[in-house]
């Protein structure tokens, strides 16, 4: 701790922080632009000037940039000193010289850091009478708008996009006042984390394009804390809604999960909530096969009648809340509940949980991932299956440079200094994957092969670290990779192994576990990150299901069980179409509760409209076993209700006494009775939580407008605001946002700080934990007992030679951040950004099969794909991008035959259209 004096007041500040961090930690209003809590300082904008005094007697002091000055014990500074204030005001005045007269038509308006800083420094009247320089804008793809005139040359965008996120298609061009931030030419921003530019840029240069289409000012967005449904990372988000539409998603800071950044799937994928394919009414299939709308109450009655007809199979879902899954499991009984995941994936999910449970290896948060000093990624293409992990891995490789800087006496926040000193020094990252990944650029070495080959390499690494682990024989080309990885991991202080269920291979996950255990056995630390594929994969696995999907479908197709309830799930993504068809053909009642019109809906006898995540309250459990609550942001249109309500209503009607839950809190409490899920009642406060002065927490800002006009065309008398029975939030501006637990932050705002920069007012220290405490409860934290040697896996896979056989090609799973996820696949900007179904194979083999790159290829029963080639694909294998709409999500085990499909018109890559200059 260092003690500094700011304008006569003394503060305890953290040793090693700079003065800006110190001031902001103590919630002092000191303007800044270029410093970013996650990216450090470069001193580019000159906005954070303060006066620093030499000693107690110094009266004059000198001007320093707070963000570039170390806060050492005894530092005396002034924010308020006249000279400092004048300097800051003149910096703004000069930044504003060229600023366009755009605020009314700027998407940043009302949450603009530049507006805030301008007001804070007191610059009000324009004195400059010269001409303004202008720029032409670029087309940057479906996600991001570009309005270069608004730039203040703070360099945050390139520092984020290039330095932090590893993108190479956004640069700073030109000089002086002609600095231009954009691409070399018009085109889609390629980086998968480009959306963060919207929040990183302190002005309206980079804005959220889909949001702009039906734009709403931040002060009018109704919002509540939420969790991204896009993957198993469970990033914390702030969806904003107005007029019954989800307008946009912003990052919600979480010190251990997503920090300040989301991926583009999460940010732009949630527009599925507004999709035309949303189900808004209940319906039953009439004789003629057409759906007839029925009242929700009638639907509940029908559902209860079905419950009375003996056994019902309940198929849960890894994209539904824990509450809904639990209600379904309770309703149909343990023996009839299915996790709703493909059988193989289900086994892998269970393996994942048991490895976590038994390993004693540390389950890393993303902050831990960022702190790792040697990483091995075994199989999982995290950029496409758990994207935010990839961004964290990009930070992990920088630890060496931070260490070098610290040794050289350069503070960590001195970004340019650290980067200049370390040059290209990176921590070792080893990537073993089926096909090249988009983070291979930071890898020390890569290995590509079938999951079996990768698993063998993994087993070999474990064996070399500790010979107690099973040995395998290796081919030459794998040896180098293995040796290098062994060396790096054994030397590391904080080694990390990353794997997951994406490759569909148990051996791969076992190999990952063996390596972590072997490292741990040597007395060191070892972190093991295993990821499932969906937002609640871990949740449904912990909830547990006795029945697997294959057996359930068989029970239906043999007529053993006549009725099935499908909860927020598309069975065609979980099992081969033939077996789903056979099961649903035989079933008397196929009752589907879902958000979107999936192919399964086509086969339903009754459909109930389930609320999407932003329209309901529930819990997801992320890859690290962290249970996190998402809250209803807005009231859904139509008859939509949270899925668990239909189930409990029907249970009551059927005379069941065990599902008498009226509130989500009651479901949570009941759910916490499950062994694996103890603790989920502590994830967030119950609905009766009230803050200071016994107030609720408002979903609307205190400036929300239009209350007496929004609905006046329907009824001139204002409707009574809904009283929220389910959560501690109000559906109005009434209440207090500021001192509640960290899991209950509905929006970030603080007087004078309208932009998301105001998050520092909610943190204990900048970039530290939230004042209200950490968000979520980790359900899987195990005591780091034993090394798990007794649990080690002993059977490495049998590698099969994999040559092309007469009966065709074997298939391997690949993923795409844009499209592989079911829900975001319904979001228009994601649809625009994603390719169609694709198949990747070795160029030589493509040639042999008569396939042309960009042309079509088909396989009986699987559909058609666009042909892509990669020389890294093993011969005899073809990779299929799973989960794309209109394509498959479960790979057949057997080899398939591939043939050209000249009729397929692959989706063309996004056109580069120069519009909106």
């Amino acid at each position: 701790m260092a003690i500094i004096t700011v304008d006569g007041q003394t503060f305890d500040v953290q040793e090693g922080h700079n003065l800006l961090q110190a001031c902001l930690t103590h919630k002092l209003d000191l303007p800044y632009f270029c410093w970013h809590p996650a990216m450090g300082s470069v001193g580019a904008c000159r906005q954070c000037a303060v006066i620093q005094y030499q000693d107690e007697d110094d009266e004059r002091g000198r001007l320093v940039m707070a963000c570039m000055t170390l806060a050492v014990d005894g530092t005396r500074i002034s924010i308020e000193a006249g000279q400092a204030k004048e300097f800051r005001a003149s910096v703004i005045e000069w930044l504003m010289e060229n600023h366009p007269h755009d605020c009314p038509v700027c998407e940043e308006g009302g949450e603009c850091h530049l507006q805030d800083m301008t007001v804070m420094t007191g610059h009000t009247t324009r004195r400059y009478r010269g001409q303004k320089r202008t720029f032409r804008n670029q087309y940057l793809g479906p996600f991001i708008g570009h309005e270069m005139n608004r730039c203040i040359t703070c360099f945050r965008c390139v520092r984020y996009y290039h330095d932090y996120a590893g993108g190479d298609d956004l640069q700073a061009f030109g000089s002086r006042t002609r600095m231009f931030f954009g691409r070399e030419s018009d085109g889609v921003l390629e980086n998968e984390f480009a959306g963060n530019l919207v929040e990183v840029c302190p002005t309206g240069v980079f804005t959220d394009k889909p949001f702009s289409q039906t734009y709403t000012r931040k002060w009018d967005l109704q919002s509540a804390p939420s969790i991204c449904p896009g993957c198993a990372v469970g990033c914390n988000t702030l969806p904003g809604a107005r007029y019954g539409l989800l307008k946009r998603v912003h990052n919600r800071y979480h010190s251990d999960v997503n920090g300040y950044f989301l991926c583009d799937r999460g940010r732009f994928g949630s527009h599925f909530v507004n999709a035309d394919a949303r189900i808004r009414r209940a319906g039953v299939r009439a004789e003629d096969g057409v759906f007839e709308e029925i009242a929700i109450e009638d639907a509940s009655v029908r559902l209860s009648e079905v419950l009375g007809q003996g056994d019902v199979i309940g198929i849960g879902s890894p994209r539904a809340s824990l509450e809904a899954n639990f209600a379904l499991k309770s309703l149909v009984g343990e023996d009839n509940f299915v996790a709703g995941v493909a059988d193989n994936e289900n086994r892998l999910n269970e393996l994942m949980v048991s490895i976590y449970r038994e390993s004693g290896a540390h389950i890393p948060t993303l902050t831990d991932v960022e702190a790792a000093d040697a990483v091995l990624v075994l199989g999982e293409d995290v950029l496409n299956t758990a994207p935010r992990v990839a961004l964290a891995l990009r930070q992990s490789v920088r630890n060496l440079s931070l260490e070098m800087a610290t040794n050289a006496g350069i503070p960590e926040w001195q970004d340019a200094g650290v980067r200049g000193h370390a040059q290209d020094a990176l921590n070792p990252l080893f990537i073993a994957s089926i096909a090249p990944t988009r983070i291979d650029d930071i890898a020390a070495d890569t290995l590509h092969g079938t999951p079996d080959v990768l698993a063998e390499a993994g087993f070999a690494i474990a064996h070399q670290i500790d010979s107690a682990f099973v040995a395998v024989e290796l081919f030459n080309d794998v040896n180098n990779f293995v040796d290098a990885a062994v060396k790096a991991l054994s030397e590391a202080k904080r080694p990390l192994i990353v794997s997951g269920t994406g490759c569909g291979s148990a051996a791969l996950m076992q190999a990952a576990a063996n390596i972590a255990w072997a490292l741990k056995g040597r007395g060191g630390e070892a972190a093991l990150l295993l990821t499932g594929q969906e937002a609640n994969s871990t949740g449904v696995t912990l909830l547990g299901a006795d029945l697997d999907l294959g057996s359930a479908l068989r029970k239906l197709s043999t007529g053993d069980v006549k009725n099935v309830i499908v909860l927020e799930n598309d069975l065609y993504r979980r099992a081969p179409a033939a077996s789903v068809d056979a099961a649903l053909d035989k079933a008397d009642n196929v009752i589907v509760l879902d958000v979107l019109e999936t192919p399964t809906i086509e086969r339903a006898t009754m459909v109930l409209p389930a609320a999407a995540y932003a329209e309901s309250t529930g819990t997801f459990v992320n890859y690290e076993g962290r249970a996190q609550r998402f809250y209803q942001v807005f009231e859904a249109d139509g008859a939509t209700r949270p899925a668990w309500r239909y189930l409990t209503d029907a249970a009551k009607l059927a005379g069941r006494n065990d599902l008498r839950w009226d509130h989500v809190d009651e479901v949570v409490r009941a759910c916490a009775g499950t062994d694996n899920l103890k603790g989920i009642q502590d994830v967030a406060p119950t609905a009766d939580y009230r803050g200071r002065a016994n107030l609720r927490i408002p979903r609307e800002t205190h400036r929300a407008s239009g209350r007496t006009a929004m609905h006046a065309h329907l009824n001139v008398h204002e409707p009574k605001t809904t009283v929220d029975e389910e959560t501690p939030f109000s559906y109005s501006m009434e209440g207090l946002n500021g001192d509640q637990p960290g899991s209950l932050i509905p929006y970030v705002w603080s007087p004078g700080w309208n932009s998301n920069q105001s998050i520092f007012k909610f943190q204990q220290e900048v970039a530290g934990s939230l004042q209200g405490g950490e968000v979520g409860v980790r359900l899987l934290d195990v005591s780091a007992n034993g090394t798990g040697l007794q649990n080690r896996f002993r059977d490495p896979p049998e590698t099969d030679s994999g040559s092309t056989t007469a009966d065709g090609m074997r298939l391997l799973p690949l993923y795409s951040i844009f499209g592989s996820d079911e829900l975001s696949g319904f979001s228009p900007p994601i649809i625009e950004r994603s390719s169609g179904p694709q198949l990747v194979l070795n160029p030589g083999e493509a040639h042999q099969l008569g396939l042309t790159v960009g042309g079509g290829v088909k396989s009986p029963g699987l559909g058609s794909f666009e042909v892509c080639v990669s020389s890294e694909m093993p011969r005899g294998y073809a990779g299929i991008v799973l989960g794309m709409r209109g394509s498959i999500n479960v790979l057949p085990q057997d080899a398939v035959e591939l043939m050209p499909d000249p009729s397929l018109k692959p989706k063309r890559p996004l056109d580069v259209i120069a519009r909106g200059h």
Binding site: N137, H713, H917
Partner: protein, 171 residues
């Protein structure tokens, strides 16, 4: 007694004073243009809608009686998809006019806003939008703003230089 006489006197005296009663509505009083009555939305000198759906009027309105939502025209202009004022709530305070950066929203001297049915006090954009510039004849926001619209490219707004050639190497 005395007070009665005085009262009579006072009343009689008024028989000879000038009549202050105005024969409204036959006789209309003069109201200055800045009088704060019924609200209108005006147009640019070029005839296009002035309102850019910035929402500043809505947020400043103390009774929250303005609601609108942004959309974008073919020409790139921002404009309100709908614009609604609930005059049964409006207190004619004029804050919206103060806040408006484009002079789109203006109060007029028309104060005759009585209706038997409160529903009729809800005005939509088609009721608010007039075919003229109102009190501020010359102003056109889009000629000053930096955002491009059809017919006004980058560098063509008031006080703007030609767009920078980013690939120019000169210092």
């Amino acid at each position: 007694m005395w007070s009665h006489v005085r009262t009579l006197w006072e009343v009689l005296k008024h028989t000879f004073s000038r009549n202050e009663t105005v024969q409204y509505p036959e006789e209309m009083p003069y109201l200055a243009p800045r009088y704060r009555g019924r609200i209108i939305l005006t147009r640019d000198p070029d005839g296009e809608e002035r309102c850019v759906a910035c929402n500043l009027c809505a947020v400043v309105c103390p009774v929250d009686c303005i609601a609108l939502e942004k959309t974008e025209g073919e020409d790139g202009r921002w404009l309100p998809e709908f614009f609604r004022i609930n005059f049964s709530r409006c207190i004619m305070c004029g804050m919206c006019e103060e806040a408006c950066p484009t002079y789109a929203i203006q109060l007029t001297p028309d104060f005759e806003l009585c209706e038997f049915n409160r529903d009729n006090m809800v005005y939509e954009k088609e009721h608010l939008l007039i075919d003229g510039v109102g009190k501020y004849p010359g102003y056109s926001f889009w000629q000053i703003a930096g955002k491009t619209i059809a017919g006004k490219d980058k560098g063509e707004a008031q006080g703007e230089c030609e767009p920078v050639d980013v690939k120019d190497l000169l210092p």
